[in-house]
Amino acid sequence: MSAPVIEVRDLRKVYGSGDTAVHALRGLDLTVARGEYLAIMGTSGSGKSTLLNILGCLDAPSSGNYLLDGIDTAEFGEAQLGLLRNRKIGFVFQSFNLIPRTTALANVELPLVYAGVRRKQRRARALAALQMVGLVDRAGHRPNELSGGQQQRVAIARALVTAPAIVLADEPTGNLDTRSSEDVMAILDRLHATGRTVVLITHEDDVAAHAQRVVRVVDGRIATGVAA
């Protein structure tokens, strides 16, 4: 087994303070190997989304260490975290989070713009990513002109357009019907097949069945680790 791409030690996250403090994570440990396909399950409020947000560098832990490729992310500054989110991590949200009034193509191009890729190359790569999710013919459509499943596929195209090593997905099928869910999972499976590390959160056992390994988060800690 290769060196872990994600290593989390004694991770804690507290929202608020004093009597109203909410302990979302209470000393969580997790290791994800390179190229692994991991599903995180757990009830609402168990802290799994908080965990994934921290893994995606969208949020910072209150205490504990998050080592990405062996380097503690606490050492990174704002600009380097931006670079990480841009190059290394692709994040897929449950609620898609596309920019409204902006075409699918422009949404997919967005990370490349911030990466400083030239217009011509950007267009080609964004179209290739849309091709991969089967939405090239919808490139000129705005998010409100797309179905939920199509929006999620655009969001996945955006997550993979910079060819990140890690793809994180927070309940990617949570808002989708069965048919769209299967499309989305097929894409994630293919991403894994090309050697990417995929971590996803889900409530559904059949979605979790796509993963090599399933962990359960209970009360801010990992409860069981079952190799698939």
Binding site: L58, A60, L110
Partner: protein, 399 residues
């Protein structure tokens, strides 16, 4: 991240909500335009006052009666006073002294009747003293004054009112039902913002006294000094002569007042300055209100788009590129609105407003433009910089 890309995002941001962008622009435009326009009106008023007073000449003294101290008697200014002032041995610095009576009168010609605000009776020297010249016809002569002929020289406004089409020279008009022959029309002097200098008619002193005002006191004696340099000497001589004739002792308040054009100018400038300050404060309020409107819209724009900021950060945008985008959006709206405001201000000042030809003050253009731009920039960038400083997940969860 190149500047062109940030600019492209900003352009898309501005055009994404056209109505809101248009309203923001409109707010800035109205603020800027009103500042430029109102200050220009105030400035125009004060300039026309200065011009009209300067038009009277710099070597002129105006003597008018004033109430003396309680206890002492008040003697009216008389034609004899005016004659005494013109004495070349007693007052060598005085070139001429014109007695002036003034009244308002209703003039009529054919079916038209017009109320002249200043109907003056004086002598021919008055015209040269006040730099008045005729556009048509001729002035009346000293002989007309001696004979008390019913002739009149009318101002441009009176001419256009009574004779909209024909030539007034040689025509007869009825002034308070007394027939006067129009011998000339004065060249236009324009409005000074407070009164129309052309709304006047000038007739021989004796005629006006005989027909309209009676042989009472004079309203003014207008004195012309020999040169502008002898004005002070003339003022001293005039004071000495009148003190003697009116028996004003040392330290007593005189029953007349001598004002030079310079003093008149100072007094009138003070008045128009007050006027300008008043207009400027109204303009400043409208700029402030416009600025608050812009502030409000900028705050709403940014707050509403905090989620968008979160998305951009989640895909790797740096704080600086987000800040740059919103700063550019605010700059474009402010500059565009400001430019439109300047244009509207310039167009507006081409029209005569309430009888005043506005004159643009260059610094007001700069000030209005800068203030509006700064308001837009500050209130656009401040909430954007706060939002850009959030962790992506905080911005994404923002409701």
């Amino acid at each position: 991240m190149r500047f062109v890309e940030v600019l492209a995002f900003a352009v898309r941001g501005v055009t994404a909500n056209k109505l809101r962008s248009a309203l923001t622009t409109l707010g800035i435009m109205i603020g800027v335009a009103s500042v430029i326009l109102l200050i220009a009106v105030g400035n125009g008023a004060s300039q026309s006052v200065q011009n009209s007073i300067a038009g009277l000449g710099t070597n002129v003294l105006t003597i008018s009666p004033q109430r003396a101290q309680a206890g002492s008697s008040t003697k009216p200014l008389t034609t004899a006073d005016a004659k005494a002032l013109a004495d070349p041995t007693e007052a060598p610095a005085v070139k001429s002294a014109s007695p002036v009576v003034s009244t308002s009168a209703t003039a009529a010609h054919a079916e038209v009747s017009y109320s002249i605000s200043q109907f003056l009776g004086t002598d021919p020297a008055y015209f040269s003293t006040t730099n008045s010249s005729v556009a048509e016809g001729a002035l009346f002569s000293t002989d007309d004054v001696t004979q008390g002929r019913k002739v009149v020289v009318i101002g441009a406004t009176v001419a256009t009112q009574l004779f909209p089409t024909g030539n007034p020279v040689g025509e007869t008009i009825l002034v308070n039902n007394i027939p006067f022959t129009v011998v000339g029309v004065l060249a236009s002097k324009g409005s000074n913002g407070l009164q129309d200098a052309d709304d006047t008619a000038v007739a021989p002193l004796t005629t006006v006294q005989n027909a309209l005002t009676g042989y009472g006191s004079l309203n003014q004696i207008v004195v012309q000094a020999t040169t502008a340099d002898t004005l002070d000497a003339a003022q001293a001589q005039v004071t000495t002569i009148l003190d003697g004739r009116h028996k004003i002792g040392f330290g007593q308040t005189a029953d007349y007042r001598v004002l030079s054009q310079q003093q008149l100018l100072t007094a009138r400038t003070a008045t128009t300055d007050t006027f300008t300050v008043l207009l400027a404060s109204v303009a400043a309020i409208s700029l402030l209100v416009g600025g608050i409107g812009v502030t409000n819209i900028m705050l709403v724009t940014v707050t509403e788009r905090i989620r968008e900021i979160g998305i951009r950060k989640a895909v790797g945008a740096r704080r600086s590129s987000i800040l740059g985008q919103f700063l550019l959006e605010a700059t474009m709206l402010s500059l565009f609105g400001g430019a439109l405001g300047v244009a509207a201000g310039f167009i507006g000042t081409r029209f005569t407003i309430a009888g005043i030809q506005p004159v643009i003050v260059p610094s007001s253009v700069l000030l209005a433009f800068a203030v509006s731009a700064l308001i837009g920039l500050f209130f656009g960038s401040y909430p954007a910089s706060r939002a850009a400083g959030l962790r992506p997940i905080q911005a994404l969860r923002h409701e």
